[in-house]
């Protein structure tokens, strides 16, 4: 299972998980998340090494879940893990390799 590592993400894990699950329940789900599993997103961490990121926003344009925004003030690119499904597209398209995906075992 693909999730991401990001040292900068600080929201407590447990809160993120709850939010995420709630979100799915509130939404609708006849087409399901394919690779996504109940227990899978236990820990999801993104890494946006600012050193590398050029704020080109390509990741943001190609994220299928609108997770990636740029902070208008700081120019920083942020990923909202509540909506991230761990598809890996952002990481694969970033020209700077600024996003890393980490294989996360269930539990």
């Amino acid at each position: 299972m693909m999730t991401k590592e990001c040292k900068k993400e600080t929201a407590p894990k447990i809160k993120r998980k709850t939010l995420s699950v709630k979100a799915r329940k509130k939404g609708f789900s006849p087409v399901e998340y394919g690779l996504l599993k109940e227990e899978a997103i236990k820990e999801a961490e993104h890494c946006l090494g600012l050193r590398e990121c050029e704020s080109c926003e390509i990741c943001s344009l190609l994220c299928p879940d609108l997770c990636i925004t740029r902070d208008e003030k700081t120019g920083e690119v942020l990923i909202d893990l509540d909506y991230c499904k761990g598809c890996g597209i952002c990481a694969s398209v970033c020209p700077k390799g600024a996003i890393e995906m980490a294989l996360e075992e269930g539990k």
Binding site: G27, V31, L61, L62, T69, D80, Y83, K85, C87
Partner: protein, 252 residues
């Protein structure tokens, strides 16, 4: 933290119903960016869709009026709404199966009448929602759940089809060409008359997995590699060309 473009999302809508890495999610964002760029009034926008995964792009996500209709019928419903209230900016977002298979007749007739509808066809070359059966856009030879030996029939060239039917703005771009696609959507929004954009949108779950593109990013990379502009196609050999997908504005 908020999602990108949150203000265009209907309150109460949480995560998308799409599979991880579904191109429809990308397209969903790109359309909103075009709307955002043009500062369109969402209260005067009507989004019409049929049935299929793609039909869920606007419904219920978009915070304007959304009309989620029947499989294939989006354009007929849209025609009624637009003719009765011409002040509405009516955009139809739906799937390749929806718009060009069961809905093909409404497509060509709406194009013929040149009614001011902005049609975005999310073409994933497959029936995503029902489990990966062949569509009229499935490339010849592709594996689907109804063509285990490879699709024996040719796919439509949707842009040629709607052009032949009379559309007045026609383009094709992939979600992997986000800037061009946004640009094209903006042009369609500003065009008076029938506009058609074929937006190539990968379906990793139903198409990719059957055709050796196991992960979402494989499909994205594949599209990036294969989508070229008309100009770029010129130097290529037949063979090289066959593998490519020609994108661009074909009529504007």
């Amino acid at each position: 933290m908020v999602r990108a473009l949150e203000k265009y999302i209907r309150p109460g809508v949480k995560s998308t119903p799409f599979c991880p890495g579904c191109g429809h999610g990308i397209l969903m964002g790109l359309i909103l960016r075009a709307i955002d760029d043009l500062k369109m009034d969402m209260k005067k926008m009507l989004f019409v869709s049929g049935i299929g995964c793609a039909a869920w792009i606007p419904s219920p996500h978009y915070n304007g009026d959304t009309l989620h209709t029947l499989h294939g019928r989006a354009l007929a419903f849209a025609t009624g709404a637009k003719l009765y209230n011409p002040d509405l900016c009516v955009m139809v977002v739906s799937g390749d199966g929806d718009l060009s298979s069961i809905g093909g007749n409404h497509l060509i007739h709406a194009a013929r009448r040149d009614i001011d509808l902005k049609v975005i066809c999310a073409n994933n070359m497959i029936y995503g929602m029902t489990g990966g059966q062949a569509a009229s856009t499935t490339p010849r030879g592709s594996k689907t759940s109804t063509t285990g030996e490879g699709n024996p029939y040719r796919p439509f060239d949707l842009c040629k089809l709607v052009e032949g039917a009379g559309a007045t703005y026609v383009s094709r771009f992939s979600v992997t060409q986000p800037i061009s696609l946004i640009q094209s959507i903006k042009k369609a929004l500003l065009h008076k008359g029938f506009s058609f954009i074929e937006a190539l949108s990968p379906c990793p779950t139903q198409f990719g997995r059957r055709n050796l593109l196991e992960r979402p990013e494989d499909m994205i990379k594949d599209l990036i590699r294969r989508c070229i502009l008309e100009e770029e196609a010129e130097g290529l050999t037949e063979e090289e060309r066959a593998e490519k997908i020609i994108t661009g504005e074909f009529l504007s």
